[in-house]
């Protein structure tokens, strides 16, 4: 008797918990879906060829986001170009060369912490460090983003370096290969996926960054070439979104940019999982 009522109680508890979890899943899914659909519905109608291909002009009251698109491309390129060698180099040094495990641990811990700091703080530091000396410009923004993304690239590279089997290294050393040859020929090829994943994650972060760039890269909308562009102030898409929505009340444009960013983000996540799948398959060969 007693036993039966107990098991009944347990059962109804199970059902209740299951229902609660189903509700939270439903809510999460609904929220994501709502956000996606809402942004796309408000944004897509505002995306016109003119918007994408022109620059804003106060005379004609026309708004165009070409400069912002270009700025975004420039800043992504400049950041990756700088952060890749630094981050990958640091990761290789830490996992392959450094012998003092304590120091390595401290650096890894610092990197971990660094990647959790609010980006506005990077912006503040970047402003003092870079913008004050070189002026507000895309390059100052890129340098700030380099500091911000360095831990990401370093950690993802390190993680994939650790998956390169020790037996490869032993095999190569056993044939009389020197340290650098071992690293270049058997270690580095094994960590390409980590580097690519790190890159993709970083591009995602750069696209989404506004706080750190507002301080350092400014929000101009001029069309420039790559070199001039880096030396001049400029807004990336995300910063432009902020400016159009907040300062100018141009919500149509803001949502158009939002839709573009959203699609880009989805594409980036998709690319990241593709890369991971591709390398997982190659590894299991």
């Amino acid at each position: 008797m007693l036993n039966q009522s107990l098991s009944k109680k347990r059962k109804s508890f199970e059902v209740l918990m299951k229902a609660l979890m189903a509700v939270s899943v439903g809510l999460t899914a609904a929220l994501v879906l709502f956000l996606l659909v809402y942004v796309l519905m408000r944004g897509i109608p505002n995306i016109t060829w003119e918007l994408l291909s022109s620059k804003p002009s106060y005379l004609t009251e026309r708004i165009g986001i070409l400069p912002d698109i270009l700025n975004t491309v420039y800043i992504v390129l400049a950041t990756l170009l700088l952060v890749l060698p630094l981050g990958v180099g640091a990761a290789i040094y830490l996992t392959e060369y450094a012998s003092n495990k304590k120091v390595v641990g401290i650096i890894e811990y610092a990197a971990e912490t660094l990647s959790g700091i609010p980006s506005i703080i990077y912006g503040l530091v970047g402003m003092l460090l870079f913008s004050n000396s070189m002026g507000t410009c895309l390059m100052a923004g890129a340098l700030t983003l380099v500091i911000m993304n360095l831990p990401t690239i370093m950690r993802t590279t390190q993680e994939s370096l650790k998956t390169v089997p020790q037996s490869y290294r032993e095999g190569a050393f056993g044939l009389g290969a020197g340290k650098w040859r071992v690293v270049r020929t058997v270690v580095l090829p094994g960590c390409v996926d980590g580097v690519i994943t790190g890159c993709i994650l970083s591009v995602g972060r750069i696209l989404g960054e506004s706080a750190a760039l507002l301080f350092t890269a400014g929000f101009a909308h001029a069309v420039n070439g790559l070199i001039d562009g880096l030396a001049a102030p400029g807004a990336t898409l995300t910063v432009a979104l902020y400016v159009y929505a907040k300062e100018q009340g141009e919500f149509g444009v803001a949502f158009a940019i939002a839709a573009i960013l959203m699609v880009l983000t989805v594409l980036i996540n998709f690319a990241a999982s593709l890369v991971q799948k591709y390398f997982a398959k190659r590894r299991s060969l």
């Binding site: 089997p165 490869y168 056993g174 009389g176």
Partner: protein, 251 residues
């Protein structure tokens, strides 16, 4: 027969833990020497000391002398990469690189500066023939080596080691991960190789030691207990502990 390696009073520590105690041994040239002994007695450690693979492990301390062809391998002017070219190694688990069969074999020669395509082709073929695997792989040299069977992979690793033309080949339980057929192929191969190379192999398999080796060294708890001709050690061991071990009374 002359000795290619002479070890005098060698001790080795992993941090505080002493893994080898006063090892003295002289390894004869162009012969097969087997290391036997229970797990953890230091066979692999000793083997890896001979081509200084232990340098890669932090906290290893070594005392005593090891001479290879009359030169101290720990001397300051010894290039460890050249030493490992002369004293090659085959590992317990086959460890081909994730590249083509050809590139695996060519890895060593390329490391030591050979870039000429014809010369490389030649070396690759000779190494694969020496390792008795040429016929199986000659049509798929450009295929990834990871697609081969375990036994083939191990023979590939032997070929890879042979491609740098070492004088000595160190093998750490080269057949322990393999099936009986691959095992006997590798045993045959090893017996052929001693024409040209000195072979030192660790094995847990007494029959294997008897079948292939000329000399046997018995290790116990970091000590070299007994070292002599394989026939002698297995028919009339001098030390009680050796006798106990080879008759299966412990270990």
């Amino acid at each position: 027969m002359s000795n290619i390696i002479t070890v005098k009073d060698m001790c080795l520590w992993y941090g505080e833990h002493q893994a080898l105690k006063n090892v003295n041994i002289e390894i004869p040239e162009k012969s097969i020497t087997a290391f036997i002994g229970p797990s953890g007695c230091g066979k692999s450690t000793f083997l890896k000391t001979l081509n200084r693979m232990n340098d890669l492990i932090p906290g290893v301390k070594i005392t005593g002398d090891i001479c290879y062809e009359g030169t101290d391998i720990f001397a300051k002017d010894v290039d460890v990469n050249n030493l490992r070219k002369e004293i090659g190694m085959v590992f317990q688990k086959p460890n081909p690189f994730p590249m083509s069969i050809y590139d695996n074999i060519a890895y060593g020669p390329r490391t030591h500066g050979i870039t000429n395509k014809m010369q490389l082709d030649d070396i690759v073929e000779r190494a694969l023939r020496d390792a008795a695997i040429w016929d199986e792989v000659k049509d798929r040299l450009k295929k990834n080596a990871l697609g081969m069977s375990g036994g083939q992979q191990q023979r590939l690793c032997i070929a890879r080691a042979l491609a740098v033309q070492p004088k000595i080949l160190l093998m750490d339980e080269p057949t322990s991960a393999l099936d009986p057929i691959s095992t006997s192929r590798i045993e045959e191969l090893v017996t052929e190789l001693k024409e040209k190379y000195t072979i030192v192999m660790v094995t847990h398999n007494m029959q294997q030691a008897v079948r292939v080796s000329d000399y046997t060294a018995f290790f116990l708890l970091g000590e070299l207990v007994e070292f002599s001709k394989t026939d002698d050690i297995f028919s009339q061991p001098q030390d009680k502990r050796t006798e106990d071990y080879i008759t299966g009374r412990f270990g």
